[in-house]
């Protein structure tokens, strides 16, 4: 008792540390299975895993059922792409995408290849028939700013920047953009502000129709899963948008590069990886409804990295550089 009186904080901290360490060991094989890489005991104390997981809403009492839900949701998500009216990715699905990426990738592999084959079948069909029956092709042309009156921009912090620092565009277009948004969360995260509160992009697209939809996503999730996994998720989102907005022109924007300095030595945030994903994104375009544009030509230096004079942190454009992006969009538009 005297001991407790003498050093209550020390005892409190030690007791909790011991409990957390025990939890981290007990749940190692179950709840925390997917954190094995991040919480290598050689690098961080064992209890760190409890906090890391808690940030993803994974708690000791989440139980192993978390895994089952995850895989079920993963399948749901895939079926959403089929055109069935599914709530594409559920909240648990988010966790799947971020925290349990590897496993989810495995789970969805089967469904993904099925989907992959399906859609590519469509694309090649169209290509063939398009060449023979419909010689009409669309060219990128220059437009004026009225073009963006019925345009929607969906994206992460970079698109947020575009909305905040490109006044002529912000005045005309609509923005559904949010910092750290990913392709896995874009449809279901409730962040679109309306008079009745925040709703998801999915819900917002059911209510509002747009003539053009610009998407730039992919940097936040560049460390999650492989390119195939990313592209499959992207494709589902596109399919869902086409379903909700059958008349819109959809622009898939290639992911903007990072500066050479930022890319140097970073295993994820580098331009090889971005280019690999951009090449795959370009394949999603059908040149009829869905087009691929790459604004990197407007901001790259001669080596194909983001020009460092345009960025302070190597990832985002400075406010004064968004003009280039805007000019690029004005010069690379489709008019049907």
């Amino acid at each position: 008792m005297k001991f407790l009186k003498e050093c209550p904080i020390l005892i409190g901290i030690i007791v909790i540390a011991v409990i957390l360490t025990v939890i981290s060991f007990v749940c190692r094989g179950s709840v925390y299975e997917d954190y094995a890489d991040e919480a290598d005991p050689a690098k961080v104390p064992a209890l760190a895993v409890v906090f890391k997981a808690a940030r993803d809403q994974v708690f000791p009492w989440s139980g192993t059922s978390g895994d089952e839900t995850a895989s079920v949701d993963g399948t749901d998500a895939i079926q959403g792409g089929d055109g069935t009216d599914a709530d594409v990715i559920t909240e648990e699905g988010d966790v799947t995408a971020e925290g349990q990426a590897d496993e989810a990738a495995d789970d969805t592999d089967q469904g993904a290849s099925w989907l992959y084959g399906d859609v590519y079948g469509d694309v090649s069909d169209n290509d063939v028939s398009g060449n023979e029956a419909e010689p009409e092709t669309y060219e990128f042309t220059e437009v004026d700013d009225d073009y963006f009156t019925d345009a929607l921009f969906i994206g992460d912090s970079r698109t947020v920047g575009l909305s905040e620092y490109c006044e002529p565009l912000d005045e005309k277009a609509t923005f559904y953009s949010k910092v750290s948004l990913t392709i896995y969360t874009v449809m279901d995260k409730e962040f679109v502000k309306t008079d009745e509160g925040k709703i998801s992009v999915d819900a917002a697209l059911r209510e509002n129709q747009f003539g053009k939809i610009y998407i730039m996503l992919g940097l936040n999730e560049i460390g999650t899963g492989d390119t195939e996994y990313f592209i499959n998720a992207y494709e589902e989102v596109i399919d869902r948008i086409v379903e909700l907005q059958p008349d819109a022109i959809i622009y898939i924007q290639g992911i903007m590069h990072v500066t050479a300095e930022k890319a140097n030595g970073d295993k994820n945030f580098n331009n090889e990886k971005i280019n690999e994903r951009n090449e795959a994104l370009a394949q999603l375009a059908d040149q009829k409804k869905i087009f691929y544009i790459d604004m990197n030509e407007a901001v790259d230096d001669e080596d194909g990295n983001l020009d460092k004079s345009l960025s302070f942190d190597g990832v985002h454009l400075k406010a004064s550089s968004y003009e280039r992006w805007y000019e690029f969009l004005l010069h690379n538009a489709i008019v049907r």
Binding site: P8, I9, P45, R55, E164, F312, K318, A319, S320, Y322
Partner: protein, 454 residues
Amino acid sequence: MVNFSDLNFIFRFLPIFLIAFYITPIRFRTWTLFLGSLLFYAVGDIRMLPALLAAIIVNFLFGKAQFAEKSKSLLFFILAIDAGMLVEFKILGQFVNSSLLPIGISFYIFKMISYQMDVYSGKIDKDARFIDVATYFSMFPQIVSGPIMRYEKFLENPMLDESAGRDKSIFAHIEDGLRYFVIGLAMKVLIADHLSMLWHDIGTIGYESISTPLAWLGAYAYTLELYFDFWGYSLMAGGIGVMIGFPFIVNFDHPYGSFSVSEFYRRWHATLGSWFRDYIYFPLGGSRKGSARTVFNLLVVWLITGFWHGITPNFILWGIVLFVIIVCEKYLVFKVLPEKLGKVIGKINVLVLIPLTWVIFAITDFDMLAMYFSRLFPFFGQGIAVNDNDFFKNIGVYWMVLLPGLVLLIPKVFEFWENRRGHVVFNIIWILLFWFCIYSISGAAGNPFMYFRF
């Protein structure tokens, strides 16, 4: 790991070290601290460990010779070696490769210089043992970023002295040190690290595109960030010192409660300020040799202070600006104006000019610095692509950090806690605060102390 807010330091190095330290018999405890400190340093930067060891040995030997026979030329010789080593590594670190700047060199060299001068002046009169001197120079709680403790304080540790009376138990020492450590950790992790994101966001926007209100918000956010980063570090360092028996070293004494810039710098990073006073300003004659000489001495002190923080031109400019403000205060504000008015102006200097000097401190590139000031004072043209809502957007995000930061600026708030720190309510809050910090750390890649590179 050489970062007190690193999980490996908190949960591995520190507890293991404390156990090792206290199970060692008192006679050999200084050795445990020395070896633990070398291990700590080696984990941080093993390449530069030989430089530290060489400096320790050379300084010990010169000190020993000085004990035998006082010699001014010997003193000048060792001071030239120490200062030369610091200057050389600073230049290497700046112009060749930043990894060539040894961790903590600015701090351990200053300890060495103070040791040599105290031995010469007779302030340290007993012949010092090697292990004491070596441990004093290298002890891990202070080697990275201070505080610059004096050698006499090093000897005031009852846990290292067999003959000393012990009025407090080992656990009472650890508990009290832990209190300071936790509050320091919270300042660093919860306030400073989050405010650094605001400062970073301003850079991302680009200084040419921030609104004037945001420019001012940025100046104050950086001011608070620097304060809580370094005060938090100093509390952690002081707390670890207390855990192993040393007296708590006050490095920050509520500087923003000051009524003049000169007072501010007696209370900001106080161990550095008193070092400059005792080992540069007083030896030059201080203020006893007439006004002209006093002004010159102040100029020398502030130029060296600027240089010590970094050798890019903005630090020199920062030092000169502070020199000008302090001279104006000394010979104009407090001499000519009535006392009340002087106090008001002094307070404005602390609350308005000091944050502006931190902007100079923060931005190393002169063009960017000029750009930032042109946004602070937008009389010379407009910004580019400015979004006028940026201030409210950032206030909306960061008020949760700015508000506790501002509250902690009030000296009474901290004193209230300090005087009642054993209270059961504070104990519970401190345990929660500690784990909240750990939660915050485990999510973010820890950003090392800003003072790390100095």
